[in-house]
Symmetry: C2
Subunit: 493 residues, 2 copies
């Protein structure tokens, strides 16, 4: 199948359509024939695997261990934490039966009415309830604490409007669940994991993020505080990219997780939970990519360098040989490289394909260039091409990968800074927010103004940013009352 680049909608034409098309054309994912679910294709999954590897080792460095808890949650567990059930019982997949049987016409299967479960089971939308029900047997004394578990798994939320990676009924994620002896330790852990997420987003995904705390209405159902990282997409909208929750003793109390503290008194355990999901794929795609296709940060690209030979049939053996030397050197340097000498595809097709797939560096091994001791090298982020000496090309390319990693981060940060402004005039805000962007606005801290902003502008309070000076927030732009915070307000995915 030929790739027709002109088929890819331009961002300026329709950003949303550009995204949807790009995900499919770059072979990342596609809609499954199951409502709201996706198939993550090998190329997309290879990026997700790289994300998992990095995150997993970052978690383990902080003492976290992986474990696995059941997919299905008894319905009654959800009801044990009052706010939690409000947030998650509404839209979830319910297992009611455990058997099918052949139908009367013997050409299909039907649910066997005799195989009805006594208590329905819910496919986990998140696992606080099943995990804290388990922790109750693990935690008896302060010596058993902290418990620091994480699981990589699938979860399901019956979303009505879905988009590949950004919002799907089933998605993949990790969920960390920790239990602590003191409030302070749990709060610190929740903040620590947010910093892990921020570091991952910035250093690996090259996606700059604003760190902050959510308003009460935007909190996780059952949390005391929800911390978030918010990234800006190229259309100026915010994408919540990871959250970490301080859950207080809510789940400890709901599931009776008590321990004897050092003073020999029974106390409820303190909790955190924190997660990032395949939604990060959406953030990655939308932050860097362009009208030619994906732009991937080198540190997460499944293929970092592609080498494409150009020559007459008689010259190919020499090119193959030279390429083999280069591939060996790249592997020594720890660079993932692909040599594509498939002669059933023309070079022009390959160029467009690897651009579409966002391979950071392309080397053209041309027979004529090689006679001069040169190769052509292109960087995907700027599409800049250079002829450079074949001698030392591997180190050159490796440095270029570092440069691309830094450059796309800087570009994204510059974009965000250029589209972030302070705004304390509501009329001005209503005008400007149409075009997207982040707004730092004085907020009186009430749910009423928050709701009014949302209703009138579709923008929401993304967070109270940590790195914004909160000492003198001014006057609420909606109510005119004294502001409590400078809030980050934006339209969001």
């Amino acid at each position: 199948m030929a790739i027709e680049l002109k088929d890819l909608t331009k961002r300026s034409e329709n950003y949303s359509r550009w995204y949807n098309e790009l995900v499919v054309k770059a072979d990342l994912a596609e809609q499954a024939d199951v409502r709201g679910c996706m198939v993550i294709k090998p190329y997309g999954y290879a990026i997700w695997e790289k994300m998992q590897q990095v995150l997993d080792s970052m978690f383990k460095e902080t003492g976290v261990q992986n474990a696995y808890f059941p997919l299905l949650i008894p319905k009654s567990f959800l009801s044990k934490e009052a706010e939690h059930v409000e947030g998650f019982a509404k839209e979830c997949a319910v297992v009611t039966h455990y058997r099918l049987k052949t139908n009367e016409t013997h050409d299909g299967v039907v649910v066997d009415p005799e195989a009805k479960l006594e208590e329905e089971l819910i496919i986990r939308p998140t696992s606080e309830t099943i995990i804290w029900n388990t922790y109750k047997n693990w935690i008896k004394s302060y010596r058993d604490l902290p418990v620091l578990c994480n699981q990589w798994c699938n979860v399901m939320r019956w979303e009505m409007r879905t988009r590949l990676f950004l919002r799907t009924a089933e998605f993949l994620w990790q969920e960390g669940h920790t239990a602590h002896a003191t409030r302070e330790e749990a709060e610190q852990r929740a903040q620590q994991m947010l910093k892990v997420y921020a570091k991952f987003a910035e250093d690996y995904m090259a996606v700059p993020v604003v760190q902050g705390v959510k308003s009460a209405t935007e909190r996780f159902a059952g949390a005391i505080d929800t911390y978030t990282i918010e990234a800006m997409m190229q259309d100026g909208k915010a994408l919540q990219s990871g959250t970490s929750h301080f859950l207080g003793q809510n789940f400890g109390k709901a599931f009776g997780v008590q321990f004897l503290n050092k003073e020999n008194q029974l106390e409820y355990a303190w909790a955190t939970s924190w997660g990032v999901s395949t939604r990060l794929m959406g953030a990655l795609i939308m932050t860097h990519s362009d009208d030619n296709g994906l732009v991937l940060p080198p540190r997460l690209a499944p293929i970092q360098v592609v080498i494409i030979p150009i020559g007459k049939p008689a010259q190919m053996e020499a090119l193959d040989q030279k390429a083999a030397e280069m591939v060996a050197k790249f592997k020594e340097l720890g660079v993932s490289v692909k040599y594509d000498n498939d002669d059933s595809k023309r070079p022009g097709f390959k160029f467009a394909d690897y651009e579409l797939k966002g391979v950071p560096v392309r080397i053209v091994l041309g027979a004529r260039d090689l006679e001069k001791g040169e190769v052509e090298i292109m960087r995907r982020d700027t599409l800049e091409k250079n002829n450079v000496s074949v001698e030392g090309i591997e180190e050159y390319a490796k440095n270029l990968l570092d440069d691309i990693q830094q450059n796309i981060y800087k570009k994204a940060l510059d974009y965000r800074l250029a589209h972030t402004c302070e705004c304390s005039d509501y009329e001005e805000f209503k005008q400007k927010v149409q075009d997207g962007g982040f707004f730092l606005c004085p907020w009186d801290g009430t749910e009423e103004t928050e709701a009014q902003i949302k209703e009138e502008t579709q923008a929401t309070i993304r967070c109270i940013p940590f790195d914004t000076d909160q000492s003198n927030p001014g006057t609420d732009m909606v109510s005119g009352k004294p502001a409590k915070y400078k809030a980050l307000v934006a339209r969001a995915y």
Copy 2:
């Protein structure tokens, strides 16, 4: 909580109880409060992760890529392959609704009858149907072939009698699904993956396996041929540890996956699938462990070497310092090491605990020994202790790990060979099979004799082994008819 070794049932007393207790006491897994499901605890999961890493890279070396397909399968998909639905529709978790609502007394949630799905969804018991439904869009020409996908995921089969790791309603596994242009290529792939499994079992798990092909009745539902690896547990029973299926064109036809071959004619694609699961944990535990607890193969042990200091409080600083040097050298050698100087636990407790957890090598760093330039080193497999020079202890321990890996494999193989015999007399077989063991028996190839053996002895035909001379199989021990094969017969898990 003190570990009371005397609490662990002896294998000779009750092998089955020994296993159940060991899984829990060694902190590998426990029953969840969801029928038939398990919680895999951090120590158990760490072993599973090591298995995953090795298998994953072995798959990738053969060209396989990872992907992810939906958890839920429309009910009608199951019916498309006649044998497949017979095998898997019977006991499966059925999602019928997508919403809960608050009950009338406002103290719980009930299924919202208005949120009934038009078509019920099944939690995947295996993914052939959903994957081949997807492949139909991926495969149009021989140029699109082969497709070599694998997924790591959870699956669910509503088993009535469950046991941790061996048979649980939900379990973790990998399932590979490949599509090919020719029958030969698909058959080769199915056999290739069986060899990968056998190599993994023998070289990493140190579990010797018999490779062979299943009888028609024991085949995977929808397969033309099922290849298997069968391991012998210490009670002489067989454990099917991995299977690889040649599926012919059954799923290609059921889901209309056709491609244009090189002769420009439409043809159905040829399929394989292959999987191993957390059941491997059961095989690992039951093959090597003893009355003191787990015995882990060094190549899959989360902790390979544990160092325990013994000294008076005033001596601890010097011991900590010496241990730090050793830990650094072990890390350089790629050995995973834990230094346990937790002074809230006595050395005797630690010894028992690490024995129970199967840490292959224990080093006791005693203040008095150290004055003589010595440490005590113990190997878990034989419990043999030696005092050796602290100089070069790291290389010594590393060699010991290799030796343990080989020794436990050899021990398991010797055990299997000692408990395998040829048997062509049915009365003798009925007698001997009571005590377990593998039997090579002449079989006429009919379902009738197979069924009779199963009914009368609870033993089953595990496979027709590849490495058994099949040229002159003799006379069927049940029917007295000419035998077609020498079959491996045994009681099994």
